[in-house]
């Protein structure tokens, strides 16, 4: 039985295979419409989320399966003080696969230690969010044709942005990748990512606070939101929340084939006017996320 806790749980060959399945689903969705008939996905969201939960649910419905679960911890036994382990032991009696989001880092690992069914990490605090990375990878693949020789700009909250950490981990395994890390000093990439991934693997990277200066060299610009829920101190959040706002005028020096990405939801870090730019790919990411989650569910349930 396999779980997906971290994007590195999947080899590059397995990611290629998921992308291949996702592309096949896009080409011929009817072929997959009954693949998960009589299978149940439990979506356990101990922390509110709209798109990830709905994406998982839509993915399971499109595979012909059904869905059960909760969308916030107040409507689960957690509110009564139940541990993650106990919740998972109970739910794995009802469902064939579990997608869980939890505000505490490492909660899905605890779940995987006791679960009788595959666990998918749908986001654990500021730590990992591997299925968002799968959505990001399919988007890059479809827009750029592959992952090699790309200069990837990551902008905004690189400290608490779990999507950023997972994406760096995933892309660092491909040749010719360079990163430009654009953030205020207070929201720089944590040392465990810089040391354990970038430095350890000799991945070229530069850190800057200047988005405009970095813009011309980028093949991909991955914007992130400064997340209020990750701050203990509201003053810090207010001070940093508007650090980077992407508007059409800031894209003047950008490449014509730049791919602008964002894990969503956005607040104001990408102006709505950018949505009309053909380089804006963030709504394509949403759709790609559903296809990759479908491919992942099939893989973990070992459905042919």
């Amino acid at each position: 039985m396999r779980h997906l806790l971290d994007i590195l749980d999947l080899s590059t060959d397995e990611i290629d295979s998921l992308i291949s399945t996702a592309c096949d689903i896009i080409d011929d969705p009817d072929k997959y419409a009954e693949k998960c008939r009589r299978k149940k996905l439990a979506t356990l969201f101990f922390e509110p989320s709209t798109r990830t939960r709905l994406s998982f649910e839509a993915a399971m419905y499109e595979l012909g399966g059904s869905v059960l679960g909760f969308s916030e911890s107040s409507s689960s036994s957690t509110a009564k003080g139940e541990s993650v382990s106990d919740t998972i032991k109970v739910v794995s009696c009802y469902a064939d696969i579990i997608a869980m989001r939890h505000p505490k880092e490492g909660a899905p690992m605890v779940a995987s230690m006791v679960s009788g069914v595959p666990i998918i990490n749908a986001g654990d605090g500021g730590h990992n969010h591997p299925t968002q990375t799968l959505a990001d990878l399919l988007t890059i693949y479809r827009e750029k044709g592959g992952f090699e020789d790309l200069t990837v700009g990551l902008c905004g909250d690189l400290k608490f942005g779990r999507t950023v950490h997972s994406l760096i981990n995933a892309l660092s395994r491909y040749a010719g990748i360079k990163f430009v890390l654009i953030s205020p000093d207070e929201l720089k990439l944590p040392d465990y990512v810089t040391n354990n991934v970038l430095i350890k693997n000799n991945i070229p990277y530069e850190e800057t606070t200047d988005l405009l200066e970095a813009m011309p060299k980028l093949d991909i610009l991955y914007m992130t939101r400064v997340q209020k829920e990750r701050f203990f101190n509201e003053q810090d959040y207010i001070r940093l929340k508007d650090s980077y706002i992407l508007s059409p005028d800031k894209l003047i020096d950008a490449k014509e084939d730049l791919c602008i990405m964002h894990p969503l939801p956005r607040v104001n870090e990408i102006s709505v006017a950018v949505d009309k730019d053909p380089r804006a790919c963030y709504f394509k990411q949403v759709l790609n996320g559903k296809y990759m989650r479908m491919a992942l569910i099939l893989k973990l349930l070992e459905v042919e």
């Binding site: 382990s85 880092e105 040392d191 465990y192 040391n195």
Partner: protein
């Protein structure tokens, strides 16, 4: 200063000066009922000063704790007044319930009776990380 030699037990030698009380605490030596001698600032030809702990009973020492906290120590197992075994603990690959994660966002802060596990991720710099949240051990 003279401390009696022991007949059957353990001598932890070459402890970094000042570390003996830390080891005493982490090895739970306060729970022993036998004689335990802590010698602080004993002369050392190598480092000038060292600490020594003598335990007057054969016990199972948590070698991982020693390897993590003070990897330069040597452990002498004494039987019938003779050293029958001498070894230097190595930096352990894994620490189980030795230290706790300090990251307030880590699941190990909340989940009841969860085993606290750290893995050695950088041997050269002796860096351990929590297996749940990957935070560095402090």
């Amino acid at each position: 200063m003279i401390i009696d030699s022991i007949t059957d037990g353990i001598v932890i030698d070459h402890i970094t000066s000042g570390m003996s009380m830390v080891l005493y605490k982490y090895l739970n030596l306060d729970k022993l009922t036998c004689s335990v001698a802590i010698i602080k600032n004993a002369p050392s030809s190598k480092n000038g000063k060292k600490d020594i702990i003598k335990i007057d009973r054969p016990i199972d020492i948590d070698v991982d704790v020693l390897g993590y906290l003070d990897p330069g120590v040597s452990v002498n197992v004494i039987k019938n007044g003779e050293i029958v075994k001498k070894f230097h603990p190595e930096l352990p690959e894994k620490l189980v319930d030795v230290i706790k994660c300090k990251n307030p966002r880590c699941i190990s802060q909340d989940e009841q009776e969860l085993v606290h596990i750290f893995k050695l991720t950088d041997r050269e710099n002796r860096i351990y990380r929590c297996i749940y949240c990957e935070s560095k051990a402090k």
